[in-house]
Symmetry: C3
Subunit: 206 residues, 3 copies
């Protein structure tokens, strides 16, 4: 049996939803929200970026069309909620999976935007939104400054990768190959940024 | 003259808009926002949940289609704003009406989602969003942790009730009866949760 | 060569995007966000109100249809980001352009809403949303109470002007003339409010 690119991305995204939800729950640990709060934080972290993208592009919201996303997300959230009572979970376990999810979400978001005819700038920005807006929504609910506005290249990795994806597609590279190359590029760039502490310049005044 | 289920729900929702707006204004009391701030807080508290639901389901936003919702909401907000200068208003007066509004909004939201073909999980979640997202938006504007993530069963009451509603509908109960039963169920569950301090488990680490 | 009203408004809005983006960057100065954070704050400040309006009215989001808005906005943001390192920028330079942008955005938003058949109340509120919601989104990201809920008439100027615009249109005044009159009215009312410290009453309890 051979899976198509679309199928591989579909199942990877389901898997990424579990991990992103789980990471979102850990990010909220200090607030000690109740189970419903945890489910909403996980929902925002895992599905918020794609939701915003679909709303802005006037597409059917992906989890409204296919509620499996909700099931996987909340499975990840509940598992984390209960596991945290028994074993010590570390946010560091999620660094690598999170970089992979960033690559996946960003490429999927860029594809979705190109699919409805968005131009290059809009499509790359939609990729970034898909990859990072969930974390911004999570931080808004947690009442803290968005982490993505301050740390090592995160949005930067996403944006470079979405532009790379578009460039490859414009050069008639096969969609599956382009997705793989751009996704791995984002993954490696994000991990390199963490490893060598690569950051964007911050706002500074004379 | 006999009112249809739809008419009863329509007028109840208008009435609920006044009360939710008024409660939203009191929730914001410590910020001493100006009259415009009060109107926006009331708008979010009373109409925010339904607005988010309609946006996610790609339905026409209900108050864009029928601006009476804005009129009733702002009537409630302005009345509260001016009354507060003359008499001592208590947030406790709103506990019972708020539980009734939760039942009403949740059932209306679940109905709306079923109406556009959402499946059971999505429809019940849309009911919850309709019932609680307004309060979350209010708390975001007030720059405080969402109350609904920490108190006595609120979203829990809404979610149980929306699932009950869907169950009743699937068993061919008449829509009006199902709405009444589910709405009263939410109302009573919420009041019981307050009376006996029923809360969800909170996030806790080993 | 004679420009049509639509063309004048189009180019004025592009120009206003630069200025609003720049002002948004200065509003965020104390946070010292990185370059990506600056771009998102500028995006919210300059384009957030119109984005919310288009989402609520189920129109195609304006910058998705025409990505020039993104280019002008981010040009303004980047220019401010780099200039701030060389020269001392003052928020006061933006008071007058900001009042002009408020007039422009509000009138454009009211027009857009009337164009899809919104009634008077909804259309005037959409004008206000277009004019002020960007600033509210910026304040949510900056984790601070919305400035527009406390200062001198801002939303008030916008709302009066959008109602004036609708009144003029209903009395068969030419669209271009109505836009100009209402825009200037908002501009002058906002500047007067600053000059004579005109504020709305704030919430106060007995």
């Amino acid at each position: 049996m051979v899976l198509s690119t679309a199928e591989v991305m579909y199942w990877s995204t389901m898997f990424a939803s579990i991990l992103s939800a789980s990471a979102g729950v850990l990010d909220a640990r200090s607030k000690q929200f109740d189970l419903f709060g945890i489910m909403i934080i996980a929902f925002c972290a895992a599905l918020g970026g794609g939701t915003l993208r679909d709303t802005l592009l006037d597409r059917t919201v992906f989890w409204v069309a296919d509620s499996s996303y909700l099931i996987f997300t909340w499975f990840g959230a509940l598992a984390t909620f209960f596991l945290a009572r028994w074993i010590k979970l570390s946010g560091r376990w999620f660094v690598v999976p999170d970089a992979a999810a960033l690559g996946l979400y960003t490429v999927a978001g860029t594809q979705a935007a190109l699919g409805v005819g968005a131009d290059m700038l809009v499509a790359s920005f939609m990729g970034v939104i898909t990859g990072v807006a969930g974390g911004i929504l999570r931080d808004i609910l947690l009442n803290q400054d968005p982490l993505v506005f301050q740390g090592q290249w995160y949005a930067t990795a996403a944006w470079s990768g979405s532009l790379l994806y578009i460039l490859l597609i414009h050069n008639d590279i096969n969609i599956g190959a382009a997705a793989l190359i751009a996704g791995i590029f984002i993954f490696l760039l994000r991990l390199s940024a963490i490893r060598w502490n690569l950051v964007l310049p911050r706002y500074k005044e004379k």
